[in-house]
Symmetry: C3
Subunit: 157 residues, 3 copies
């Protein structure tokens, strides 16, 4: 967990993460918007260089570990959206909310473990400012058959 | 796309849209609430004169084009809710967020195309102020078997 | 419905409700966060003394009446989260939004009746300040096989 005075940029270097270019939206919308002191992303999918990291349902075509890796990639893409929307990740005062949508095979209920892939990353990069609320939902049909979709809300200075 | 100084009222006339009466809620809640500079709707279904425009799952009983028309009607009903809650659509500074819930038959994944029915309308009526974030989820059981449900968040003056 | 000047504490006594200890989160997140004048909970499940009130799908293993009771318990747990996050339920100026996720057996569409279990409680405890917006979604896979999950947004002083 980072020291309160450490920068997010330093934490990203320590974690070996480079913020990617923002993924292109799938329709007539944008990736993130600031309103007042809140910034909210569109639904983030696990795009890596224009391809989904995995495809399918967790508990069937995709393993729990692969799903957790997808949640981490969605979180990194959300940071890319924040950076594009507000210019600087240091302006994030706290991560407020993680909406976690998990593409589940029938009977799969490990949503919390999958979504910890995103939650742990926010805690690692933002320390106390990364502590957030979360909702976990099992979804049967996901755009592009993606295993995970995340929406992130943050409070900004 | 409207000129920044054009009124929403004029854009509605140009699009041939009359804002309907607000649909009656399905339970013990209201259609929209303002909090600070945000206004958020309840889930909007494609009601037209007290009847759903279509009924069933997209990809089965309902075609993609019909689903897209439903998303447009949900968006118009959201505008009715905003007008009832804040008095005047000109007070909308921007559409912030579209939560799009699509009633999918197994294997249907055209959510983004369906939801563009709402997104295009917001872009048409509000111009730059209509650019929004969006999340698209496939839902298996929908209240009243509706094909689409939308929640809209806007920032108001 | 309470008189505008009556305290929430008095309304809780009248309803025979004791605010429980906050349920432990299922992962690396917290139960509620305040941002500006908004406070939002994580997804609340119907935990009672560390056990879910019911388990399974409404319309199959769980009856509609049991589902409605679950929605009420989720709402009480949300109040526990608010109390822990903001210190005092009297600081709630209004309930803004109820996100209602209902674990549905195939073909079950009584979401609004189930969620009224929460909506009626907010109206009973908060009077005019308890009037809220709501979204109702049928979910096929729920964490811990819970019948209902709620997220509550409130505006605070």
């Amino acid at each position: 967990m980072i020291h309160p005075t450490e920068s997010v940029a330093a934490a990203l270097v320590k974690a070996g993460i480079t913020i990617p270019a923002v993924p292109k939206p799938a329709g007539a919308y944008v990736g993130a918007i600031r309103t007042g002191n809140l910034v909210v992303t569109s639904g983030q999918l696990p795009w890596v260089d224009g391809k989904l990291l995995h495809i399918g349902r967790i508990g069937a075509e995709v393993s729990e570990a692969e799903g957790k890796a997808c949640a981490r990639v969605c979180a990194i893409n959300a940071l890319a959206q924040f950076q594009a929307a507000i210019g600087d990740l240091e302006a994030i005062r706290r991560i407020v909310r993680v909406e976690g949508f998990v593409h589940c095979a029938p009977g799969y209920r490990g949503h919390p473990r999958v979504l910890d892939g995103a939650s742990h990353l926010f805690n690692e990069l933002f320390g106390d400012r990364g502590i957030h609320t979360r909702v976990a939902l099992g979804i049967t049909e996901m755009p592009f058959d993606a295993p995970v979709q995340l929406v992130i809300w943050a409070e900004v200075a």
